[in-house]
C-alpha cells in the first residue's frame, strides 16, 4: 500500500455540530491502528468514510494519491478496503468457505485453516459456528480479498476476552505477515493495548495517545 490519507476532513449532520472536525491523518501498511472514543463520538462515521461507504462534507480522502469520491466508492471498497464488523456480517446461507470465496483471489481453505477452522468447520453453515469462529471467517474473507486495508468496527465487541485476544492475534498476523493496514474502532482498552498506534476521537478531533496514557481515555 502506498498512502492512505485523511486530508482536513469534516463531517456533520448539521453544521452547528461537527462530528469530524478538520481531521488530517496518514495510515501506513503493516500497522494496527485503534480508534477509541465514547459512543456517538463519530468513530463508525470515520470508519465509513475510510471504507468508502460515505463521503466527507469537506476535505478529501486519498488512497495512493487518488481521491475517494462519489464516483469510485464501489471500486475503493472492492479493491482497497475490507470490512470486519462486530456482528460478523457473513452471508448466513453459505459455509465459511463460500463466504471467503465471495472475495477470494486465492484458495479459501488454507486461510481458514490458518485462522483455526478445521476442514469440517469450513463446510458447515456459518451460523453453526461460535462467535469467535464467525469473526475469524470474516477476517479470513478480508485477508482473502488481498485488499491492503482492513477496517474493523468493534470486532471483539461480541466476544469474551480470551476469544477477543485471539482475534487480535489474527489482526497482528494480518499486519505483520500480510502487510495489512488494520484500522480498528473499539471501546476496549485491552484491544488498544495491542495496537501500534492509538487514537482517541473527542469532539471531532483525532488525538494520538500512548498506551500508557490509556487510563485517561474514555472507556464505557
Amino acid at each position: 500500500m502506498g498512502e492512505f490519507l485523511l486530508k482536513d476532513i469534516t463531517y456533520y449532520y448539521s453544521k452547528d455540530r461537527l462530528i469530524l472536525d478538520h481531521i488530517s491523518q496518514a495510515f501506513e501498511s503493516g500497522k494496527i491502528y485503534v480508534i477509541l472514543g465514547p459512543s456517538g463520538c463519530g468513530k463508525t462515521t470515520l470508519l465509513s468514510l475510510l471504507g468508502g461507504l460515505d463521503v466527507p462534507k469537506e476535505g478529501a480522502i486519498l488512497f495512493n494519491g487518488t481521491e475517494v469520491g462519489k464516483k469510485n466508492l464501489e471500486a475503493h471498497r472492492r479493491a482497497n478496503v475490507s470490512f470486519v464488523f462486530q456482528n460478523y456480517n457473513l452471508i448466513d446461507y453459505m459455509t465459511p468457505e463460500e463466504n471467503v470465496q465471495l472475495t477470494a483471489k486465492q484458495d479459501a481453505l488454507p486461510i481458514l485453516e490458518k485462522l483455526g477452522l478445521s476442514p469440517a468447520e469450513t463446510k458447515r453453515n456459518v451460523l453453526k459456528l461460535s462467535g469467535g469462529q464467525q469473526q475469524r471467517v470474516a477476517i479470513a474473507r478480508a485477508l482473502a480479498s488481498e485488499n491492503p486495508v482492513i477496517l474493523a468496527d468493534e470486532p471483539t465487541g461480541n466476544l469474551d476476552e480470551t476469544t477477543a485476544m485471539g482475534i487480535m492475534d489474527v489482526f497482528r498476523e494480518a499486519a505483520n505477515d500480510y502487510g495489512k493496514c488494520v484500522i480498528i474502532v473499539s471501546h476496549s482498552h485491552e484491544v488498544a493495548k495491542r495496537a501500534d498506534v492509538i487514537f482517541e476521537l473527542v469532539h471531532g478531533k483525532l488525538n494520538c495517545i500512548k498506551a500508557e496514557d490509556l487510563k485517561g481515555a474514555v472507556e464505557e
Binding site: 465509513s48 471504507g51 468508502g52 461507504l53 460515505d54 466508492l73 464501489e74 471500486a75 475503493h76 471498497r77 472492492r78 479493491a79 475490507s82 470490512f83 464488523f85 462486530q86 456482528n87 456480517n89 457473513l90 452471508i91 448466513d92 446461507y93 453459505m94 463460500e98 470465496q101 465471495l102 472475495t103 477470494a104 474473507r141 480479498s145
Partner: protein
C-alpha cells in the same frame, strides 16, 4: 464467486422460498400459456373462417331506378384486378323448356299449359359461389360444382333426378322459349344438351311454394348451368351477349376489407356507377365470427389481468422477502459489489426459477389441453340453437410449441424483471451506510 454461483447457492439453500416461487410461477405460467394457446387458436380459426366464408358484394343493374347497365365481362376483368378479390360468380336467369324432363307439377300442369315444361335456369360461372350454396340453403350431394371453365354442364335437384331417373353423367336437353322471338329468330332456335355433373339437395327452401305455384317457381325444378351454355342459345339466334343480366358476386379474401374494396369501386374504369346497385354481404362471417371474436377478446383481457395480478403478487412477495435480504445486500455492498451486479443476481435467481416453472407449466398444458379445449367449447360455442347453426366450431387448441413457450417466457421474464427490479431497487437505492446501519 460470481453471480451464477451466488444465485444457485441462494436458491438451493433457501428451499422453502424457492419452492413457493416455483409453485406460483408454475400456476401463472400455466394460466398464461393456456390463454395464449386459446388466443392463438381463436386467431387462427378466425383467419381460417375469413378465408372460408369470405365476404362478398354483388353488382347488378339498378333497375329499381330505371337503369339497364349490365355487368360486362370487361367490367368483371377490371374489378378482379383488385388483389382483395379472390373469386367471382357471374349470374343470369333464363327460362328454357325441358325437352326430356318431367318437372314437379305445379299450376300449369293442372291447367294443361305447355309452360308446365318451362324451367328456371340459373346460369353461373361458379355455382359454388351462388348464394343458394354459399348460404347453405342448398347443398351439393353428388358430383361437383360448375366451374368457370365448364361449358354445357348442369346441376339438378335430388327430387328432379329421382323423378326422372337421372344421375351424374346423364344429360338433359333444353330449348329456348320462342314466344317472344320474331319469325326469323324462331327458325334459328334449336335445343342444346347439358351434362349433369352434380346433384344438390334443398336444405332450406327460400321461396314460399303452394299448389298454385308455377313449375318454374318450384325450387325442386331449378336447374343450374354454366353461363356459356346459356349464351349458346342466344348465339343461335344471332344475339351476342357479353354481360351478366343478374349481376356478379365478387368475393373478397378478408371480410374485414369488404367496405374498403366496395368504396374503391368507383375509381375503376369509365363506368356509369350510378346505374349499378352494389350490395354487401358479410353477415355469414360476422355471425360465425362472433363467438371466436368474443373468445379472443376475453383471452386478451385475461392475459392482461393474469399478467397484472401476477406482477403485483410477485412484487409484494419479493418485496417482503427483500426485507430479509437487507443484511445480505449490505454485506455485498461492503465487499464492493456493484448495485447492478446485486440487482442482476436477484433477477437471475428468479429467472432461473421461472425457466424451470415454465417448462413444468408447458408439460401441464400438454396434459390438460384436451380438457381445456372441451371446457372452452362448452363455454363459448353452441350456446344457443342459433349459434349452433352457425358455421363456427370451437377452435382446436393450438399445440403449445416453442413459439408459445417463448411468448410466455417473454411475458414472464418481463413480469419478473419488473417485480424484482421494483422490490430490489427499494433497498438498493439506499446509501450503503444506511443499509449497514439497518443491519446493525
Amino acid at each position: 464467486m460470481g453471480i451464477w454461483g451466488r444465485s444457485w447457492l441462494y436458491l438451493s439453500r433457501n428451499k422453502t422460498k424457492s419452492g413457493i416461487l416455483l409453485t406460483l410461477l408454475i400456476v401463472i405460467g400455466t394460466l398464461v400459456m393456456l390463454c395464449v394457446s386459446i388466443g392463438n387458436a381463436a386467431g387462427s380459426s378466425l383467419a381460417s373462417l375469413r378465408e372460408r366464408l369470405g365476404g362478398y358484394f354483388q353488382i347488378k343493374s339498378d333497375r329499381e331506378h330505371g337503369y339497364f347497365e349490365f355487368v360486362s365481362d370487361a367490367m368483371v376483368q377490371d374489378i378482379t384486378q383488385n388483389e382483395q378479390i379472390k373469386a367471382y360468380n357471374g349470374m343470369d336467369t333464363r327460362y328454357f323448356y325441358t325437352e326430356n324432363l318431367e318437372l314437379t307439377p305445379g299450376r300449369f300442369s293442372a291447367e294443361g299449359d305447355p309452360k308446365a315444361k318451362l324451367a328456371r335456369i340459373l346460369c353461373n360461372t361458379d355455382s359454388s359461389l351462388n348464394e343458394y350454396f354459399v348460404l347453405k340453403y342448398y347443398e351439393l350431394k353428388e358430383g361437383r360444382h360448375i366451374s368457370p371453365d365448364d361449358h354445357g354442364k348442369a346441376l339438378i335437384s335430388k327430387e328432379l333426378a329421382e323423378r326422372n331417373g337421372l344421375s351424374v353423367g346423364d344429360s338433359i336437353s333444353l330449348r329456348m322459349d320462342d314466344t317472344i322471338l320474331n319469325d326469323k329468330q324462331k327458325q334459328l332456335v334449336k335445343p342444346h344438351t347439358a351434362e349433369i355433373i352434380g346433384i344438390f339437395e334443398i336444405e332450406t327452401a327460400m321461396g314460399v311454394e303452394s299448389g298454385n305455384s308455377a313449375e318454374c317457381d318450384i325450387e325442386k325444378n331449378f336447374i343450374f348451368t354454366d353461363t356459356a351454355f346459356a349464351r349458346d342459345f342466344y348465339e343461335d339466334i344471332g344475339s351476342h351477349t357479353g354481360a351478366y343480366l343478374d349481376g356478379v358476386s365478387f368475393f373478397v379474401k378478408d371480410p374485414k376489407e369488404l367496405d374498403r374494396v366496395v368504396a374503391s369501386l368507383t375509381e375503376i374504369g369509365d363506368y356509369n356507377w350510378d346505374g349499378y346497385a352494389v350490395t354487401k354481404n358479410n353477415k355469414t362471417y360476422e355471425d360465425s365470427a362472433l363467438p371466436l371474436e368474443r373468445l379472443s377478446k376475453i383471452v386478451s383481457v385475461m392475459v392482461f389481468v393474469i399478467a397484472g395480478i401476477s406482477a403485483v403478487m410477485l412484487s409484494l412477495i419479493l418485496f417482503l422477502w427483500m426485507r430479509d435480504r437487507v443484511h445480505e445486500i449490505g454485506v455485498y455492498l461492503s465487499l464492493g459489489k456493484k448495485r447492478s451486479e446485486i440487482l442482476w443476481q436477484h433477477m437471475l435467481e428468479n429467472l432461473l426459477v421461472a425457466a424451470a416453472a415454465f417448462i413444468v407449466a408447458w408439460g401441464i398444458c400438454q396434459i390438460t389441453s384436451k380438457t381445456v379445449e372441451q371446457a372452452v367449447g362448452t363455454a363459448f360455442f353452441a350456446e344457443t340453437e342459433q349459434e349452433a347453426e352457425m358455421q363456427t366450431e370451437p377452435p382446436e387448441l393450438v399445440e403449445i410449441g416453442v413459439i408459445e413457450l417463448l411468448e410466455v417466457a417473454g411475458i414472464g421474464a418481463l413480469i419478473i424483471i419488473l417485480s424484482t427490479g421494483i422490490s430490489s431497487l427499494l433497498v438498493l437505492r439506499m446509501r450503503p451506510k444506511d443499509i449497514l446501519s439497518l443491519m446493525s
